[in-house]
């Protein structure tokens, strides 16, 4: 994995790292990619559907369309973790032009 690619990904994910951290990450990626190659050696791997969950559920498991009042937060609770509040709304720096 080239360092430039890692920097590009880091940029897209909105963080940055020190040069030596990139080097560590590069070494880790080499291991990860080798493991990927190992998986790739399994025959007909492309035909296998990815398994995201170990068991099957049916539509009976879907939630009934009901409002549960005691699960609704008060405005005070909604805003409790906010540093800046104005008119019962969360105030954030403007990021659009």
């Amino acid at each position: 994995m080239e360092k430039e690619k890692l920097k590009d990904y880091a940029h897209k994910l909105m963080f940055d790292m020190k040069e030596e951290e990139y080097e560590t990450l590069q070494q880790e990626f080499d291991i990860i990619l080798k493991q990927m190659d190992l998986i790739g050696e399994i025959p007909n791997i492309k035909e296998v559907e990815p398994m995201h969950f170990p068991y099957v559920t049916y539509e009976a498991k879907l939630r009934k369309d009901e409002v549960i009042e005691n699960e609704v937060l008060t405005t005070g609770e909604v805003l409790a973790n906010c540093e800046h509040v104005l008119n019962d709304q969360v105030k954030v720096p403007k990021v659009v032009e």
Binding site: K61, R63, E66, V78
Partner: protein, 476 residues
């Protein structure tokens, strides 16, 4: 000349009691941050649970749009960093949307056109942000409201087609009763992708995207403006830049940002929501609730009921009106009279009273009763309509008004003859004009007299024949 290629992405909020993944209310309000559950804020320790009704309505809409449905419901994560979704991702569908490869037939002027649907998926709406000079305010009431996104293939070729499609799609939502689809409440919003290419070329031009347009007339203005702007650029030999533009109140579009790199949302299957298998019985149950759409009804009214195109259009335009009309027919009433009553008396009353059909006092059974009496010749058409207006005014069953005021039409010839003889004896001059001068129009004069005497209950057709006979007798 350039070929215009337009694709639309339409978002529509689904009408449910609670949100898509939490039990907070799905309700429009101006008071901020009162309909919020921990799941909507992405607070740790609480998991989302899928709303069955939202899934059912999305599947129903997909079926109405002739889409293929999936065998299971799977949601995916779309990762992006913006405060309108505090979890850092939106729960949406990529792997198996609720519908794929569908279409909606529309009628643009005289021509019918098939607009192909790439997919319909269910996701969650984001919080709403209001932007001020140097800060933004966030209201999380909208966060988590079930939202359908319908993506068309790039097969629309004019502003008129785009607007007709949007209007008809809105009708699909209303016909299926899945959303109120009110654009003034932001319940229906649209992104427009438009490109121009040389006529005859199979290469697509550079795509310009316009996001979040609420009003249909703004979609029309934005497309017309873009066609003109891009044509002028291409005429001058310049290139169209791939970018996102917004439409302003002046009807012009302005550049928002250039699209340098496609955003990588790092989609993956949502691990907090296990897939849900859809049985054939479950899907069949939903399919049975899919109503006949506007254009299908229009065709049925013309081909099966032999209505004029005008009447068929008026009756099929609105689902409630169409259902009302069809329900009266199901009660066995005469088609021609039903069309007459619904397209004139009912529609004009709704307009005059400024109400929707659901608030209309006259039920299908009531109107059917009146229509049947007209059809049996017991009351005249004119009378039937008058009774209907009285019933509306008094909020009384029109059938009771007829009974109480003995308004049933008089068909008894003997009784009618009494009125006629009286009228002839009282007006010898008019009788003389008919007998000696052959003036036929005095017949109408006598019909009027008989109507007066019978309190407008005389059957006009029988009266006419009897008057003619009586006058002829006096000629001899």
């Amino acid at each position: 000349m350039y070929k215009v290629v337009i694709g639309l992405e339409v978002h529509c909020e689904v009408q449910t009691n609670s949100k898509n993944f939490s039990s907070a209310p799905n309700e429009f309000t101006m008071t901020p941050n009162i309909h919020v559950a921990p799941v909507d804020l992405g607070l740790p320790g609480i998991l989302p649970v899928v709303n069955e009704e939202a899934c059912r309505k999305a599947l129903k809409t997909a079926m109405a749009l002739h889409c293929e449905n999936p065998d299971e419901i799977i949601f995916d994560r779309k990762n992006y960093f913006y405060p309108d979704l505090p979890k850092g991702y939106q729960i949406t569908q990529v792997t198996k949307p609720m519908g794929r490869n569908g279409y909606l037939d529309i009628k643009v002027g005289e021509k019918e056109k098939r607009v192909y649907i790439h997919q319909l998926h269910l996701e969650e709406d984001t919080a709403s942000l209001d932007h001020y000079s140097n800060y933004s305010l966030i209201d999380y009431n909208r966060s988590g409201i079930p939202l359908m996104e319908i993506v068309t293939e790039p097969c629309i070729s004019s502003a008129e087609e785009a607007v007709t499609f949007l209007e008809d799609l809105r009708d699909v939502f209303l016909f299926c009763e899945v959303s109120e689809a009110r654009s003034n409440k932001g319940q229906m919003r649209c992104d427009v992708n438009i490109s121009l290419t040389e006529e005859g070329s199979d290469k697509l031009g550079t795509k310009v995207e316009m996001k979040n347009i609420n009003a249909f007339n703004s979609v029309k203005a934005a497309i017309e403006y873009e066609i003109k702007r891009q044509s002028e650029l291409l005429d001058r030999g310049e290139k169209v830049i791939q970018e996102t533009r917004r439409i302003d109140e002046d009807g012009k579009t302005y550049s928002m940002r250039e699209k340098v790199d496609a955003v990588d949302y790092k989609y993956y299957v949502e691990p907090n929501l296990p897939p849900v298998k859809l049985t054939k019985e479950y899907l069949d149950g939903i399919r049975q609730t899919v109503p006949m759409l506007k254009l299908d009804r229009l065709h049925r009214y013309i081909n099966e009921f032999h209505l004029s195109e005008y009447d068929a259009t008026v009756l099929s335009k609105n689902k409630d009106i169409a259902d009302y009309f069809e329900n009266i027919l199901l009660l066995g009433s005469d088609i021609e009279l039903t069309v007459n009553f619904v397209t004139t008396s009912v529609l004009s009353s709704l307009k005059k009273l400024e109400i929707d059909l659901k608030d209309f006092f006259i039920t299908e059974e009531m109107l059917s009763g009146v229509i049947d009496l007209v059809h049996q010749g017991k009351i005249s058409l004119d009378h039937g309509k008058k009774i209907l207006y009285q019933a509306l005014e008094k909020k009384k069953d029109p059938r009771d008004i007829i009974k109480e005021s003995h308004l049933e039409q008089i068909n008894d010839e003997e009784k009618l003859l009494t009125y006629i003889t009286e009228a002839l004896e009282e007006n010898p001059e008019q009788v003389r004009q008919y007998v000696e001068e052959g003036k036929d129009y005095v017949i109408n004069y006598f019909i009027g007299k008989v109507m007066q005497k019978s309190n407008r209950q005389a059957n006009p057709n029988i009266t006419l024949e009897l008057i003619k006979k009586e006058l002829e007798k006096r000629r001899k």
